[in-house]
Symmetry: C2
């Protein structure tokens, strides 16, 4: 008997009919001889409706009370799901985050999991019941207060439960068929990826692929949880996100991928992601002396902003000055500009440039480690399409470039084709995603 954790997002449980459909799927999984634990998000737009209510009451809701409010959403969906399953003749019990042992720190709205003690979930399974757990929520032992995990919280709940219960797989149900080589709304011939390593998935997620949240992938990777991203609207196999073996154990090389397909069929490139949520800050005329870059990024770090790409131009010998550019979420832009302006005299730079009209494209694939021609092919494809590259950043399994925002979708299509990722058929796309 396998233990399967399933996660259903808000769009999968948007109304009573959807809930019954999901309940049926869960019952089928149970009937197939599996123990089943389900993490569920709030119904459809209900979280946004609760947020609206909060903002009607006060522009700045107290974080503790906002968490208390928002956690009502999963309470509703999980209770409805459990009663729907019970009406089909199977035992099911819903559990809040605290009942399921999702213990977090006390940071309301963005709590981190510090321990998972799913004793009641385990008891329910032992007694033959299906356990339905509220996604997105936990509680803090010190204060006794309810917390929420922030964006992508329900994915994290599912993965954390899968890890704590040593589940065989964690199925993430969504409204698309899995992870695609590119966003199917932009590239209609994007292809579903059958298998992808968690490190590739992390790079895709970090670079704008929105089906899975980085945090859940990181958690799965750290705890050895296999993810299966699939659609709740059909029974197709989705995308398996597997954990590559540790590099220190070469004798066990790639067992996952070898089990299902031969290495020669392994695509060089896993996928291409784009991201329009970032802006670029350029610090102009920085004295080219040791310690200046460290000084600048210490100032940025203190703001709490997550910086992404960093590029330092070659110093112009005549002036002894250089420019340093970096990208960061647009939402952090103003804070960082202010922090740098305050320290301008101390750092000794000449000026700041802010550009929020950039787009980022990232090409991800473990295969590029051993293939020197990938960068060349990427740059050539963009050049031939007349798309200018403004910044470049590389890792072992990723190449990112920054272009103008209004050219990034063209860039995505061109690159997708150049690397032979186009499918024969167009993908089917449903609307909306859950949290």
């Amino acid at each position: 008997m396998s233990l399967i954790v399933q996660k259903y997002g808000g769009s999968s449980v948007a109304d009573a009919e959807s809930i019954k459909r999901v309940a049926k799927r869960i019952v089928e999984t149970r009937k197939a001889g599996n123990d089943v634990v389900v993490a569920v998000s709030a119904m459809g737009d209900s979280t946004d409706e609760l947020l609206d209510l909060a903002h009607q009451v006060t522009p700045i809701p107290a974080p503790r009370e906002l968490d208390m409010l928002l956690t009502a959403g999963e309470r509703i969906s999980m209770a409805l799901l459990a009663m729907s399953i019970r009406s089909m003749g199977h035992d099911a019990r819903s559990f809040t985050g605290s009942q399921a042992g999702m213990i977090t720190d006390a940071r309301h709205g963005q709590a981190r999991i510090v321990d998972v003690t799913p004793g009641r979930v385990r008891d329910a399974l032992d007694e033959g019941a299906i356990a339905i757990v509220a996604g997105f929520q936990g509680f803090n032992r010190g204060t006794g207060d309810i917390t929420t995990l922030g964006r992508g919280g329900s994915d994290t709940t599912a993965v954390a439960l899968a890890a704590a219960l040593d589940a065989d797989v964690c199925e993430i149900y969504t409204d698309v068929d899995g992870i695609f080589t590119a966003d199917p709304r932009v590239v209609p011939r994007a292809r579903k990826i059958d298998r992808i390593s968690s490190e590739e998935m992390l790079e895709l997620a970090a670079n704008g692929a929105k089906v899975l949240y980085i945090r859940a992938v990181e958690y799965a990777r750290r705890h050895g949880v296999t993810l299966h991203v699939r659609s709740s609207f059909n029974n197709n196999e989705g995308t398996i996100v597997f954990n590559a073996p540790e590099p220190t154990a070469p004798d066990e090389a790639s067992p996952d991928r070898e089990n299902s397909e031969s290495p020669v069929e392994e695509p060089l490139i896993a996928g291409v992601a784009t991201d329009l949520s970032e802006a670029k800050i350029t610090v102009v005329g920085v004295p080219d002396i040791p310690g200046k870059a460290a000084q600048i990024f210490n100032i940025v770090a203190k703001t709490g902003a997550n910086i992404d790409m960093i590029v330092q131009n070659v110093s112009a010998a005549a002036t002894g000055l250089t420019d340093i550019s970096f990208t960061l979420p647009k939402s952090d832009g103003q804070t960082v500009l202010t922090a740098l302006t305050v320290e301008q005299e101390d750092v000794g730079y000449r000026g700041l440039q802010y550009d929020d009209q950039i787009g980022k494209l990232a090409l991800v694939g473990a295969g590029m480690r051993t293939n020197a021609g990938v960068s060349a092919k990427l740059f050539t494809a963009l050049y031939e399409a007349g798309i200018n590259i403004e910044m470049i950043s590389t890792s072992e399994i990723r190449i990112s470039v920054v272009t103008r925002a209004d050219t990034v979708n063209d860039a995505l299509r061109v690159v997708h084709t150049a690397f032979g990722l186009d499918a024969d058929d167009e993908a089917v796309v449903h609307g909306g995603t859950g949290r």
Copy 2:
């Protein structure tokens, strides 16, 4: 410094504007130098909406899951109320039933309170915060499951908190100005009652007055909690429900009522209530031998039905047979008829009559204990109005009569006038009530 417990029903917190209005009232109570604990119901019709959702999913929702679902309603209202108060610069913390220590038995949907351990509520007060507690809900220690208290549950939450915290008063906010001498929708000249004893209030509630639930009044009476029923739409004084002194302590006779008004002004009659929710069953042709009534009411008791009035006619000497009539909630009618039919041969009665077109009118007042003319005045008033009386039942402080359903409102107006209860002005009535 006084400790005041306030209860707000669903109609008082129906939307963001209402919540802000209630928050302002709570803050004013705090500013006046009181510690404040609030029990709050779910917003407006939200409980009915959740019930609708449940019934869209399954016709018979599992009770445990239904409680999980419905308790989302107070979670929303209490969080919004707490954040609204905080936005006004006062500390406020919301607590679920379990966080507030409302410990119940495990009967989902109609749980009884077995203990109240409001340690976190007390801590919040000690730290200067206003405590907002979810009405209607509790939890069972044995199962760890969430429970609900059933109809009138939020009133019961408020009274139970007032008792456990030894509050000075428990204010029940509603959409009317207090307890009236009769339903103001039927009797426009009904008069607000300033003070009423809990035993009179119990009789009024038991006989159809819907502003307070019997259960909450019983709880208040047993634990010596003074209630103040008042409107959340104005600042008028409402109705004080006080606990009469124990009859074993004659030296402390009626301190409450004497404090505020002289005994000679005390009205003979507190109020008149009507009830259209009952039906009458008559067991025809019962052998007039000892033990038959006991046999019949044992059968009825086993169904769990709450019977109200019982009348046994004088036996006709010629036949040795008698008729026994009793009233009970219409919702219990079919069950009781079936139970009696099954035992017809054993009991030896001739037949059953069922009548669900009855109305009950109850005249309540401690004053009638010492006034023999009350019954005569009541019967005369009804006779002069051409209203036929079908059953009569009396207690020390109440006279109830059963009439045809379609005459009961006329009866109410006639009796209200006959006992001098009419006010000079008409009462203002708002719509809807909370749970």
